[in-house]
Assembly symmetry: C2
Homo-oligomer: 343 residues x 2
């Protein structure tokens, strides 16, 4: 029996950029109410993906993730549904300027897998003319990557919603008992809810570190409130898309295991997820700074488990940090309904 | 926005056999401390599988589940690790006597996918001679299928363990708001724990119906206790394997969606799961008595969500109903540690 205190130690900024080699940039369009987030890796990262949603939309994901080229340069998360898949093109344009990409003779082709969320019915003006804004937004997000970035109504989370509250962009980080840093970046646009019943408690409360999303714990009548099974009506698509990253040295198969296990964070932070119209997609990227060590299976088990916890925390933070869109009938933010003074 | 009270109404016996067309039989060997559980479908059922563990072992699963033959006759869950995969052979022998199976001219080949758990280090006498007992146990379990069967230390759950308590065989059922019955059958042999910290509270408490596993709710200091990340040591395999069944008319793709979504029940009832040495495998079978109706996506979303809840409940019931194995140093049962008087 192995007993550790996993995920207890919060990293420096409690952002995915606490993982060495990961930078993040956001760009958004307030009128259209959408945006793009880019995670750029300082060196090509070993990556894998787990797509457990029933209605996913991705670009450059399966062929690249499972193909010959092992290192990826960036992961792109955006709004815009299928239209949003232009964003990776803007990221590639920026990576080309930086001289990044897989070398084929003197040519270089950057690798930037992408997932999207459906934010076409959030009140924004989607009458964008002939071409949607995502190519430009992708470039802009990639051009301003940094170790610091905004959460909540920002980047790809700008136009995101859940069934009952404004969604958003979330992030969190942790360090395992063996010293591997694990971080998560997530766009919370879930079909269901991140709060128990009518709120304010978050489903992710058991995994909260400090009071990073209010420190409210769980309600005593949770079994009664949990009976509520609410989701966006009809067959409206919804999605939670994420990147989990670690500084561990992982093979692609190990990264795939972490991506699969990280889905448990969705299950624990959201009711419901992985549904028929969800496009839930989780990337895992390993920046390869710290080997797994002498007990690789145990180290990997811990990284995967902490990745699930960290992603659950990032989901709650995305909701907690969000502000409402300035449109009539827009969904309220968590702080609008439950008060911002908690912080 | 759709709001329903899903999974609130418990079916008659709170067993997977509340789903019309599903029968279950158990067989076990006390000396070896192992067993087999069989779910037999009265008519061939549409089925699918979701294998999210990192170290699965299965028989007649992917080719049959994804192949040309759509109807399956039974699902077999057993102990014995790789040796246990003989059990499906015993089930086929029984199905052959019953005249069941896919017809190829006058020949009939029954279809019985199987998953196993690793129970080779539970204190039982694994010195079984040349051939292991699983062929005979599979036959015996299939020969005594019924609408009533034992939970806890029974069938494939006989030798099952978790990191801190005796594991077992669990089951539960529910009826959706649209009238579809959903049931779960699970062998809880998890790498981690079904209880929060040192217990006695179950992770599945938010989904409990009545006091089916003690009615204890969750502890108020859950965030503190949740920090514990404990699992079976070294690279020991562990696994939670399950069948979720419904009387809905589903296509194979729809059954696959329910199997994927049911994994959320593992994530919510166990800490941890889907780990590198887990063989976590979930089958879904649809007995096709009640069409999805005029809103098929919504009906399917509800069935998948209720399947996740029902599987979480079944996991807790499997632990709650277990009794300890009669060996020195055997893991205690939940009732041994926390009292049986709660019931």
């Amino acid at each position: 029996m192995r007993e550790i205190k996993g995920g207890e130690q919060m990293s420096r900024a409690n952002l995915i950029t606490d993982v060495a080699g990961v930078l993040v940039g956001n760009a958004q369009d307030a009128r259209i109410a959408t945006g793009v987030s880019v995670a750029l890796f300082e060196e090509p990262a070993v990556a894998a993906v787990s797509i457990l949603g029933g209605a996913p939309a991705n670009r450059d994901t399966n062929p690249q993730i499972d193909g010959t080229v092992e290192g990826i340069d960036a992961v792109v998360l955006s709004g815009g549904s299928g239209f949003g898949l232009d964003a990776a093109g803007g990221v590639l344009a920026r990576l080309r300027e930086l001289g990044r990409g897989f070398a084929i003779g003197p040519a270089r082709v950057p690798i930037a897998p992408q997932a999207i969320v459906f934010d076409l019915l959030n009140g924004g003006d989607k009458d964008w003319g002939r071409f949607p804004p995502y190519l430009a937004l992708g470039y802009e997000a990639a051009a301003q990557v940094s170790t610091r970035f905004s959460l909540g109504t920002a980047g790809a989370g700008y136009g995101a919603t859940t069934v009952d509250l404004k969604g958003g962009l979330g992030s969190a980080s942790a360090v395992t008992s063996r010293g591997h840093t694990v971080g998560a970046l997530v766009v919370v646009n879930a079909i269901g809810s991140a709060i128990v019943g009518e709120g304010p408690h978050f489903w992710a409360a058991p995994y909260e570190v400090g009071d990073e999303f209010g420190g409210l714990g769980l309600p005593s009548d949770i079994a009664e409130r949990a009976r509520k099974l609410a989701w966006k009506g009809g067959a409206q698509p919804a999605t939670t898309i994420a990147l989990v990253a670690t500084d561990a040295v992982l093979t692609r198969a190990q990264a795939r295991r972490v991506a699969v296990q990280a889905n448990d964070g969705l299950a624990r932070a959201l009711r419901i997820t992985h549904a028929p119209m969800d496009g839930d997609t989780i990337y895992c990227a390993a920046t390869g700074r710290l080997p797994l060590g002498e007990e690789p299976v145990a180290a990997l088990t811990e990284i995967g488990s902490v990745a699930a916890d960290t992603l659950a925390r990032a989901i709650a933070r995305g909701i907690y940090e969000a502000t409402a869109l300035p449109f009539e009938n827009a969904l309220p933010a968590w702080r609008d309904r439950f008060g911002g003074g908690v912080r």
